[in-house]
């Protein structure tokens, strides 16, 4: 096994999941303009719905994944309508929205641990027959390849929708300036509702990928969210390609550091990367 190749592969797999998290978060932040901590709960909800369909109801993988992603999206849409929209209508400051989203995260995580108990769950049945590919001496399993491909597809799809579709233009308009967008005739309320659906769905996909790759428990929402936020900042606020770049940069730094330093420092290192960027390059790798 070639160590260097394996480290890079590890980083790529982790990077794929981080980029999904960062992309979803980026979509929400650039339109709704606040740090939505509830986003972490959407990934967990998506993963647990997929778990129900796949492990409990024994349905096929594609159906379970689809169900999970749609559930996360719907939950995101509902939360936006019930909690964030009234607050934003009242011109609440982003602190108020941040604290409300914290309440959303806590409630959803608690409800999930009531339904599923707080024991660790993993989405996989028969790994023995799962082929392992050898890439330059590094090993990568079939599930991981699927996650990688899915992540790339979602990234490209999101980039294209933002660039060419009407919805994409509306999102960009709101991202630039919500008031101006509204004046120009963009129904910003409805678009932001759809943005929360799409963003949370992507978050759900990231949660499901984590569930397949390494496993989940109800309170994994916060760590997932924080990784997504770091990748989002490092990549460059409000920039789709930046989010992906930031995700891989974070994954590579984390894995390289985990190679030289003992593993328990991993989460601290991720934040060290964040702090270094906050100070020296707050606009991130690819500014908007």
């Amino acid at each position: 096994m070639d160590i260097a190749a394996q480290l890079i592969l590890n980083a790529i797999i982790a990077g794929a999941i981080y980029s999904l998290l960062a992309l979803g978060f980026n979509l929400l932040y650039s339109t709704a303009r606040f740090f939505d901590l509830g986003y972490g709960a959407m990934s967990v909800a998506g993963a647990y719905v997929a778990y129900t369909f796949y492990n409990l109801l024994d349905l096929s993988v594609p159906i379970a994944v689809l169900a999970g992603v749609l559930a996360a999206g719907t939950l995101g849409f509902v939360v936006e309508k019930l909690v964030y929209r009234p607050l934003r209508a009242r011109k609440a400051t982003h602190t108020v929205l941040l604290i409300a989203s914290l309440g959303v995260l806590i409630v959803i995580q608690a409800v999930i641990s009531i339904i599923f108990s707080s024991q660790f769950k993993i989405l996989s049945k028969d790994v023995n027959l799962e082929p392992v590919f050898n890439v330059f001496g590094g090993a990568i399993t079939q599930t991981q390849v699927i996650i990688l491909v899915a992540a790339l597809l979602i990234m490209v799809a999101l980039a294209l929708t933002l660039k060419y579709t009407l919805f994409g233009k509306a999102v960009n308009a709101i991202a630039d300036d919500e008031e101006v967008a509204r004046v120009v005739g963009v129904n910003s309320e409805r678009v932001i509702g759809v943005v929360f659906f799409v963003g949370s769905a992507i978050g759900g996909a990231a949660g499901i990928a984590t569930a397949f790759d390494s496993g989940i428990y109800p309170t994994i929402g916060l760590p997932l969210l924080l990784n997504g936020v770091i990748a989002f900042i490092v990549g460059g606020v409000g920039n789709v390609y930046g989010a992906v770049l930031g995700a891989f940069a974070l994954a590579i730094t984390e894995n390289a550091a985990a190679w030289f330093l003992p593993g328990e420092w991993k989460f601290a290192i991720a934040f060290l990367v964040l702090i270094i960027f906050l100070i020296f390059r707050p606009q991130g790798i690819l500014p908007k």
């Binding site: 096994m1 160590i3 394996q6 480290l7 590890n10 797999i13 982790a14 641990s113 108990s117 707080s118 024991q119 660790f120 993993i122 996989s124 049945k125 028969d126 790994v127 023995n128 392992v132 090993a139 990568i140 399993t141 991981q144 984590t210 790759d213 390494s214 496993g215 989940i216 428990y217 309170t219 994994i220 760590p223 984390e254 894995n255 985990a258 190679w259 003992p262 593993g263 328990e264 991993k266 989460f267």
Partner: protein, 373 residues
């Protein structure tokens, strides 16, 4: 903020405080005739909640059996469950309530050493006999009212080191442990004993509780080419390690600790073939069936222990009544033989299990069974 609504808020706040005071204050328990109250301090929220969920069915079954057969000399047992959240504040709050409000005769738990370290001084000071499951070595030394129905980590680490070195004949081992009191304790004792025997630890890596992406740590371990990897981890990281080690083509055998004996760990097919040490408890099929039928839960490692802990207290109260000193004396020279989890329950001068031995089990077709080398 006009004064009217400020006044309203003030009154509401004061009312709430008084209500809290009233609820907490009134709850005394009549001595003598009423039910015998026994406390159970378990982690019911947070990452460690699964331990609480494992222990509770055992206690529930025992209570039902005892009360159905007329309780102890006609007095039924009432269990007061408290959530110690596996934290020092939670442990302290749970024990303060059990000791001061419910005035329980005895306490089962805590299961987490973090909660136990803060809670046990309270039990000792108020003289409440406590049967803990938490395994950090120093806990029973907090006082003579503290007994333990689960072997201390120091024994398990030593046993594992000897087994790996002598029985499995592996002399170069890597360690991947979880950074909590249980994982740290096992790593230290294993490390010390294994190097004493002449073995070498090629690498020792800790990971924070609940982290499941351990690919880079495993890559590092593989590079140190160990003959075996000692992984005192919790089920979540354990399954992830099993899965990712297979993917990384690590074929060195994996050797875990006692928390791998849970359905959560044994069912995923990736963990087949993994060995782990466990207290020599039996979790007899018949007992598992009773638990399943009575409480609907699947019996795991801590379930028989919860059951036995309550049965031991019932036996001790039957013998010595609920006077704390008498119970303490009875416990210190106890030799209880019809426990489900182990043939003989008796305590040494510190309060640890005397006859604590360990066995090695292997994960096979979704379950675990004793492993014969």
């Amino acid at each position: 903020m006009n004064t009217k609504s400020k006044a309203v808020v003030g009154i509401v706040a004061v009312l709430l405080l008084i209500a809290g005071w009233w609820i907490l204050g009134v709850q005394g328990t009549p001595e003598g005739k009423g039910p015998i109250k026994i406390g159970a301090s378990l982690p019911l929220t947070g990452e460690a909640a699964s331990y609480g969920e494992m222990t509770k069915p055992g206690i529930d079954l025992a209570v039902r059996e005892i009360n159905d057969s007329g309780g102890i000399e006609g007095r039924p047992i009432e269990i007061v469950y408290e959530d110690d959240k596996c934290s020092s504040e939670g442990g302290s709050s749970a024990f303060n309530k059990l000791v001061a409000v419910d005035k329980v005769a005895a306490v089962i738990g805590p299961v987490c050493s973090v909660a136990a370290s803060a809670a046990l001084p309270i039990a000792q000071k108020s003289g409440v006999p406590t049967l803990i499951i938490a395994s950090a070595p120093g806990l029973t030394k907090i006082g003579d009212y503290i007994f333990r129905v689960y072997p201390s980590d120091s024994l398990q680490g030593k046993f594992a080191a000897e087994y790996v070195f002598n029985t499995l004949g592996k002399h170069a081992v890597a360690i991947l442990y979880v950074k909590n009191d249980w994982g740290e304790g096992l790593k230290d004792t294993f490390n010390r004993r294994f190097t004493e025997l002449g073995g070498t630890v090629t690498l020792s890596e800790g990971i924070v509780q609940g982290r499941t992406d351990v690919r880079t740590e495993l890559t590092k371990i593989k590079a140190s080419s160990p003959q075996l990897i000692y992984i005192p981890l919790q089920p979540d990281s354990g399954v992830a390690v099993a899965k990712q080690a297979k993917a990384l083509g690590i074929n060195a055998p994996l050797f875990g600790g006692d928390f791998f004996d849970t359905k959560e760990f044994t069912t995923p097919s990736e963990t087949a073939g993994i060995l782990f040490t466990i207290g020599k408890f039996n979790n007899p099929e018949e007992f598992k069936a009773r638990i399943k039928s009575e409480t609907g839960a699947d019996s795991a490692i801590l379930t028989p222990l919860g059951y036995d802990a309550l049965k031991v207290f019932a036996y001790v109260i039957g013998e010595a009544g609920i006077d704390p000193q008498a119970m303490q004396r009875e416990l210190s020279d106890l030799s209880y033989t019809d426990g489900e989890s182990q043939p003989l329950i008796s305590f040494d001068k510190d309060g640890d299990l005397e006859a604590a031995q360990f066995e090695v089990r292997v994960v096979k077709s979704g379950k675990s069974e004793p492993f014969e080398k």
